[in-house]
Amino acid sequence: MIESAIACAATLAAFALARALSARAGNPPWASPVLIAALLVAGGLALAGVPIARYSATALPLRWLLGPALVALALVIDANRAALRAQALPVLVAVGGGMMVGVGSAIGLARLLGLDGQLRDAVAVKTLSTPFAVAIMTATGGPVALAAAIAVLTGVIGALLVPPMFDALRITGVAARALGLGTAAHIVGTDWLTRRDPRAGGLSALAMALAGTLAALLLPPAWAWLAR
């Protein structure tokens, strides 16, 4: 009980510190607060000589809160209700289709490259925001830690490479770019965009939350077939 409280408090503190460090560096995509916090915690555990398994078991309450936090993400969709209502069909087609391209291309390419089975499972949810990726992996019994890390990495890669790609291909539409970035680079891309253009950031957040919700509803029932 006390050990749980310490583990959760330490994790929250590490995350707060990581967020401050990232802000200090000017919030570049590569300084992901989640990654920095995980490194801080792992380092702290190594110094204190606490086995990771023991930390995982004691930090369970914090992990459990991911469920309620996922519920709370409905706010993100609701906050951008006006944008969704104004262009419901194009937005749903783009985000739903883009999400499927993200999942399908990852599964296909993983097979083509002969990736290990656990990596294949993990990359299937790479395009989703990490909370959704973790929820789906938990529901399907997949490699949760691997999927979480790959999702974060995907966000970093997308935030760094997608905007230059759009520039190079002369894709200039603000909405098209925002939806593309939100679907491909979820929260990291959304954060990056929000700092430059808050309204476009809203669309990106909408894409991220919609893609995650659609995937969490569609992927687990189809998992046996997808992971074949």
Binding site: F15, L45, R63, V93, P143
Partner: protein, 117 residues
């Protein structure tokens, strides 16, 4: 302290909806994360728009700290060090290619479907 009191109802609502979603998914043997059912219920509730303003502050708090809730999962990554070391290069290639493809497909689909801007 007052902030905590203002946030409690929203946190409570999200916890209740997550638990209800888990229970419903288990009951009807739906193979989806229970929290997603909670998300859909909360979204419907917000869309109907009545008397839900009291939940926003607490739900916002959960969203602000969602990153911290992912940290325990990430710390477990060490268990996969061998898998990662072995597949690092193809994995990096896959992530770059599929991420660009996903963004491009989304933007093009938006235009094809008649989206403006």
């Amino acid at each position: 302290m007052r902030g905590l009191v203002e946030m409690a109802p929203g946190v409570g609502l999200c916890v209740a909806l997550a638990l209800a979603g888990d229970a419903l998914a288990a009951w009807v043997r739906l193979p989806v994360p229970g929290a997603i059912l909670g998300l859909v219920a909360y979204l419907l509730w917000l869309t109907l728009g009545r008397g839900i303003g009291w939940s926003r502050r607490g739900a916002g708090l959960l969203i602000r700290w969602i990153g911290a809730m992912i940290v325990p999962a990430l710390v477990g990554l060490q268990a996969y060090a061998a898998v990662l070391a072995h597949g690092a290069l193809p994995l990096a290639m896959l992530l770059v290619v599929t991420t660009l493809l996903t963004a491009l497909a989304t933007a093009l689909l938006y235009r094809l479907a008649g989206g403006r801007g």
